[in-house]
């Protein structure tokens, strides 16, 4: 379904998470053929390119430093005490500091 009136060559249609993955992997998104709707580049396309072949289970995805933070946030937020913690932290937010 790629037509002649294809999109200008320097525009990539891919979500931010995929763009970051490509940067992490050192892959130029312009060199990829998107497999998503309308040719959108997906995470799987980047993974495939990174591993030089078709995609596997998708579990090899590199997480940056966020992984640790994510799990910390989960343990904190999934319980009642998590909610209480959010309240407490509120004291250092802008907007809550006015006397």
């Amino acid at each position: 379904d790629a037509e002649e009136t294809a999109t200008p060559q320097d525009r990539v249609f891919a979500p931010p998470r995929v763009r970051r993955m490509a940067r992490e992997e050192g892959i130029d998104l312009l060199s990829l053929e998107g497999s998503g709707p309308g040719g959108r580049i997906t995470a799987a396309d980047v993974q495939a390119a990174a591993s030089g072949g078709p995609v596997g289970g998708g579990t090899q995805r590199q997480e940056s430093t966020e992984t640790a933070a994510e799990s910390a946030a989960t343990t904190g937020d999934s319980s009642e005490t998590g909610a209480a913690a959010v309240e407490t932290e509120g004291r250092t937010e802008p907007g809550s500091g006015a006397e």
């Binding site: 979500p15 933070a69 994510e70 946030a73 999934s78 959010v86 932290e89 809550s96």
Partner: protein
């Protein structure tokens, strides 16, 4: 005009011109189907005439006055006078503009409009009776039918909507003078929206609710700012009570509404208000009017559905599949009559699907997320799953939150109660749901609905640049918070 009994044929017969039916009709017209839309009362249905639109018009208008009256902190001193008759005229003008718009859009899309009440006579014919004087009825043969007859307010024993001081939401929205006092039965979204409107008009409002809190079904943290604001407006609550009857007062100065405590609630002490020294005792509330807003029921019993072979479930809803089809293949049902959530946009979405399926398109109801909004003060909006729903569905979740009191934009509007909460799948960060309570919650939820539909992750939302200063930055910050790197609130 058709007088007497004539038989005409149509590809698609649509019964009911509310947001489900008229949208189905317009879409079917766009798809070059021959469509007849039958409406017995008013184009636009409940939503445009007696629901969404008039309620939101009065909410906004009373807010303009309320905001000005309460802006002393901002250096504004105003004592607005409200002329309810004038306000209702304005609201009626808005309604007229929209309903006549619907009529025009139907015509422009080649929809045949027919005024009358439709009943099925068999699987492929319906009778339409015209109510006007000298108007008879006619028979319509159809290839496909779309039932979009909507819902009506539920009556409770001893409170008949015909009796003068007893109001349903439709009648409450049409009052042209402000009652001194009002009892609202039911603290669902309609009851709560109207309770705020009247409180802002200066009415003394008391809400009676069977359960032990407002807005059943919503998470406590979402309700809290709404309950607080309602208290600030002077709205009184009687939780754990059910309205039993009303009578004119002996002094002729209004009515008394009696309410009985709910056994369970009183027994387990669930509601502080209900037990406080008067367990088991009935309440007597004096008021000028009583608004009954305890829910809505499908209009499926006045259609002779049996003649067409269409079945309903035990609550009267017509069950449908993902193509909006009933148990009868060529008959579809959309909107409130087809089940929960009874919301206008859900009906419109189903209406589009029905029209497209009839036209042979591969349409289906496969939304990942259906938004819902409560236009209280502040607004509540939700889309997708709550944290506990996500967990029940087997997801490991991560949650991010951002309080509006940390939003620059919220502070500049003087409205900073509430928060944005985003629920995502932990490992890949896919956004599963969101809930917002606070300023413009109804608008802010749209971005998160799109995020869910597109399979966006927290990172996608967090790394999209949001304009400053806007409330929408709070959506981004909630996503960043879930990722552990919000800028304007602390993480962990």
């Amino acid at each position: 005009m058709v007088v007497g009994d004539v038989t005409t044929g149509t590809d698609v017969l649509i019964i009911g011109a509310g947001p489900a039916g008229y949208v189905a009709a317009i879409r079917a017209g766009q798809l070059d189907l021959d469509v007849t839309l039958v409406e017995k009362e008013a184009y636009g249905g409940t939503c445009l005439n007696h629901g969404c639109i008039p309620s939101k018009a009065l909410i906004t208008a009373t807010d303009v006055a309320h905001d000005a009256r309460n802006a002393e902190e901002m250096g504004i001193h105003a004592d607005p006078a409200i002329d309810l008759a004038g306000m209702v005229d304005w609201k009626d003008g808005v309604v007229d503009q929209l309903t006549s718009g619907v009529e025009k859009l139907c015509k422009a899309n080649q929809v045949n409009l027919l005024e009358g009440t439709a009943t099925f006579t068999d699987e492929h014919t319906a009778r339409v009776s015209h109510s006007g004087e000298g108007q008879g009825s006619e028979t319509l043969e159809f290839e496909h039918a779309v039932i979009a007859t909507g819902s009506r307010p539920i009556e409770i024993p001893n409170f008949e909507f015909g009796d003068e001081p007893v109001l349903n939401s439709r009648q409450a929205l049409a009052l042209d003078s402000v009652p001194d006092s009002l009892v609202v039965v039911g603290a669902g979204y309609i009851g709560m929206e109207l309770a705020s409107v009247f409180a802002k008009l200066g009415t003394d409002v008391t809400v009676i609710e069977m359960l032990d809190s407002i807005l059943p079904g919503y998470d406590d943290d979402l309700k809290r700012p709404v309950k607080q604001r309602a208290n600030d407006l002077g709205i009184e609550f009687e939780f754990g009570y059910t309205a039993s009857e009303w009578h004119e007062r002996a002094d002729g100065e209004g009515i008394t509404v009696a309410a009985d405590p709910i056994e369970e609630t009183a027994a387990d002490g669930g509601s502080a208000e209900a037990v406080e020294g008067e367990t088991g005792e009935s309440l007597e509330l004096d008021a000028e009017k009583v608004l009954v807003a305890v829910g809505r029921e499908p209009v499926s019993d006045t259609l002779d559905l049996e003649s067409a072979g269409v079945e309903t479930n035990d609550r009267g809803f017509i069950e449908t599949d993902s193509r909006a089809r009933t148990n009868v293949d060529h008959v579809f049902a959309v909107g409130d009559v087809a089940g929960e959530p009874m919301l206008a946009h859900k009906g419109s979405a189903e209406g589009q699907v029905a029209a497209e399926v009839i036209a042979g398109e591969p349409a289906a109801i496969d939304y990942q997320a259906m938004p819902a909004v409560v236009f209280t003060d502040p607004e509540i909006a939700t889309v997708g799953m709550t944290e506990s729903e996500a967990e029940e569905n087997g997801f490991e979740t991560v949650v991010g939150q951002f309080p509006f009191r940390a939003s620059g934009r919220a502070l500049t509007t003087g409205e900073s109660d509430g928060f944005v909460k985003v629920v995502a799948e932990e490992s890949d960060g896919y956004v599963l749901g969101a809930s917002i309570v606070g300023p413009e919650a109804s608008e802010l939820i749209a971005e998160l609905g799109l995020a869910i539909e597109l399979g966006a992750t927290l990172e996608d939302v967090a790394s999209t640049v949001h304009a400053h200063p806007t409330l929408s930055e709070s959506v981004m910050e909630a996503a960043e918070n879930a990722l552990g790197h919000a800028i304007h609130t602390l993480n962990r």
